[in-house]
């Protein structure tokens, strides 16, 4: 009880901003740059090839430590995503094992995954994950692209909402910058703890994830350059889809809705003018 109240007092102090400046002052050594994304803007859509490459990076690199608990194998074959064929997705699923309570024996048994199964997590729980990762917990990647952002000063943050200038890709831009933001050595006078790396983008600059991507690490078969920078972009795009799998449907539907409403508003306005034509107002 005492502890809880103390915790809330700390939270309130945090809210009042008294605890925050230390963090805020450290960040911002390097800048996040806007990337050019196929899925940006009112008519944006994912680049299938990029999502498939991003999935490859995710599968071969990220998924060794990060979970993606909301991803089901069936999603990989659904419209608006990487759009692997159903046969490919089935074959992929069969390479993974999931645990299930058997209704015959009552024991937890392993079986090959099916399309309806979720992506198996690399660790049984957070405690196991921390133990394996030297104390750091790799966050679940399901909605990570929407859970990250960076500071957009006035007046840029206002422009970000406007049609024609709309900007919703803060998270993926941050992720690309973070993946490219590693330094081999911390700046002079800065010390790192065991298991930490220096990152110019990470708030506080100390990150528990070792530099994950290097040139040539993942084989690309479509001629795309196999560079760390390209991996970062592709995996960020994949993470955007993972976080926002209905993005294409949303933007397509939105376009129809806006056109419908614009025509409706026009017709209503013409009717209104006619009704009011003879009344001075």
């Amino acid at each position: 009880m005492k502890l809880k109240l103390a915790l809330f007092a700390a939270a309130l102090t945090g809210a009042m901003g008294m605890g925050a400046p230390a963090l805020a002052a450290d960040a911002g050594h390097a800048e996040v740059h806007k990337q050019s994304w196929s899925f940006a803007g009112a008519f944006g859509h994912y680049d299938r090839g990029q999502l498939q490459r991003g999935f490859k990076v995710f599968r071969e690199v990220c998924a060794n430590c990060h979970s993606a608990n909301l991803l089901a194998f069936r999603n990989l074959a659904e419209p608006g995503g990487p759009q692997f064929s159903e046969a490919q997705a089935k074959e992929l699923a069969a390479q993974y094992k999931v645990k299930e309570l058997s209704d015959k024996t009552g024991d937890v048994e392993e079986r090959p995954a099916r399309l309806s199964d979720r992506w198996p997590a690399p660790f049984a729980n957070d405690i196991k994950a921390r133990e394996a990762m030297g104390g750091s917990l790799p966050p679940d990647m399901s909605v990570l692209a929407k859970a990250r952002t960076y500071h957009r000063p006035f007046p840029l943050f206002l422009i970000d909402a406007l049609p024609g200038f709309s900007y919703q890709e803060h998270g993926v831009d941050y992720i690309v910058a973070l993946l490219n933001g590693y330094k081999d050595e911390p700046p002079a006078g800065q010390k790192l703890d065991a298991g930490q790396s220096w990152n110019d983008i990470m708030p506080g600059n100390r990150i528990g994830m070792a530099k994950p991507l290097a040139d040539g690490q993942v084989d690309y078969t479509d001629g795309t350059p196999a560079t760390a920078d390209q991996y970062a972009k592709d995996v960020a795009a994949f993470m955007m889809w993972l976080a926002e799998p209905k993005l294409e449907d949303r933007k397509r539907t939105g376009f129809r809705v806006v056109i419908f409403l614009a025509v409706l508003a026009g017709l209503l306005y013409a009717t209104k003018r006619r009704i009011w034509a003879k009344i001075p107002h």
Partner: protein, 420 residues
């Protein structure tokens, strides 16, 4: 307005029903024959826009509640289940989340219109106070709704706001524990917030009914700020005139709504709310939704917790007594040259407070927030009473018809010239 019904039943069934429950006549008098000042501008369509927003929020909310799970271990993922697996779930959820913002945007414009044209002045005090009650209910509903996705901002926002009650002397801690249903924001808190979040919109609907009733007793204010004197000359029947104008306003407003919900659905949200609630990790900055920021700035501007809470609640409560603080005999700012300046100064003050509410309270931001907070209250307590006594107002038209003639007279001459 009140008086014997103008409705004449046209068939036997309608006559039969009208003799037993005059609901058709009531609807006819209220929304068809109801005399509407003919000089209303588009700022008056926000009442209809708000009605549609309330309906939209209730409809989308009822569907969301069918798929949402109110438990700390499942709430976050159940929202993602809606986003991913429920048919059109992403659309319903984004419409609901952005609908809350659009609801507040519309209500702030509606309130600003009331302030500008003096719509709170006699005989519309009760109408105005009912509006303040709706606003308070909206704030409670929105706050509790924001907790339901059980993200980091949900949890820490709930923690900060419920903690405000602990500032009450003597009984504060007891009240806070009672609100939580435990010793911290936890599953009982989430469950009661879900329950209340479902209940309050229907209470809003009930107070909206009273608000509309009061409106139909005293009649609508209008840009001229003079009452209807001659129904023939000053007013038009609500339907089709006001109905159709309202529909234009609603359709245009819904384009804005659709833009946010379909193209920038997370712009008005906070990225931290896509991280599941974690009582052990405090976000770097805890900020409320944009529509609470001016009040949040007032809360933080006062260097004492209890003082901040008092001033924050007072900033809304003061609206209740506004009809008596404003001593001017003229309603509309159109004829109040000095008040017009102070009105815009007040709008800038509130927007400024909103910006400061989003910033970490350090250095100059604290001083600016204190100055603006002081001005917020000075505007109501000092400016409004004194202006009424000292302001030289412009001559007010004798009737709505006169106001329209004066306005159109100038325009018509200008428009007629090229045609000849």
């Amino acid at each position: 307005m009140s008086g014997p019904s103008q409705y004449v039943p046209k068939n036997a069934l309608a006559r039969w029903l009208e003799a037993r429950l005059p609901i058709i006549g009531f609807t006819y008098d209220s929304f068809v024959a109801y005399p509407t000042p003919k000089n209303l501008n588009y700022w008056w369509t926000f009442g209809a826009i708000l009605s549609f927003m309330l309906i939209a929020q209730i409809l989308t909310g009822v569907v969301l509640a069918m798929h949402y799970t109110g438990h700390t271990s499942m709430a976050f993922n159940s929202v993602e289940h809606i986003m991913r697996d429920v048919n059109w779930g992403w659309m319903i959820r984004y419409l609901h989340a952005n609908g809350a913002s659009m609801f507040f945007l519309a209500v702030y414009i509606h309130m600003a219109r009331g302030l500008y044209y003096g719509s709170y002045k006699a005989p519309r005090e009760v109408l105005w106070i009912l509006g303040v009650v709706i606003f308070l209910l909206m704030m409670a509903t929105a706050f509790m709704g924001y907790v339901l996705p059980w993200g980091q901002m949900s949890f820490w926002g709930a923690t900060v706001i419920t903690n405000l009650f602990s500032a009450i002397p003597l009984v504060g801690d007891a009240i806070t524990i009672w609100l939580w249903g435990g010793y911290s924001v936890d599953n009982p808190t989430l469950n009661r917030f879900f329950s209340l979040h479902y209940l309050l919109p229907f209470m809003i609907a009930a107070v909206v009914a009273l608000h509309v009733w009061a409106l139909h007793v005293v009649g609508q204010n209008n840009p001229a700020g003079v009452d209807i004197k001659d129904v023939e000359k000053d007013s038009v029947p609500f339907t089709p005139h006001a109905t159709m104008k309202d529909m234009v306003g609603v359709a245009v407003f819904f384009i804005l709504f659709a833009w946010f919900a379909f193209f920038v659905p997370n712009y008005l949200g906070h990225s931290d709310n896509y991280i599941e609630a974690n009582p052990l990790v405090t976000p770097a900055h805890i900020v409320p939704e944009w529509y609470f920021l001016p009040f949040y700035a007032i809360l933080r501007a006062i260097p004492s917790k209890l003082g901040g809470v008092i001033f924050m609640f007072a900033s809304i409560a003061i609206l209740v007594v506004l009809p008596w603080l404003d001593t001017s005999r003229v309603r509309s700012a159109v004829y109040r040259p000095i008040y017009k300046i102070f009105f815009w100064l007040f709008i800038v003050t509130v927007i400024g407070l909103g910006y400061l509410g989003s910033q970490p309270p350090e250095g100059g931001a604290v001083i600016a927030a204190r100055i603006l907070t002081a001005w917020y209250f000075i505007h109501f307590i000092v400016v409004m009473p004194l202006l009424g006594l000292f302001e030289k107002t412009k001559p007010v038209p004798a009737s709505i018809n006169d106001a329209v003639l004066a306005k159109n007279g100038g325009e018509r001459v200008a428009a007629a010239a090229p045609a000849q």
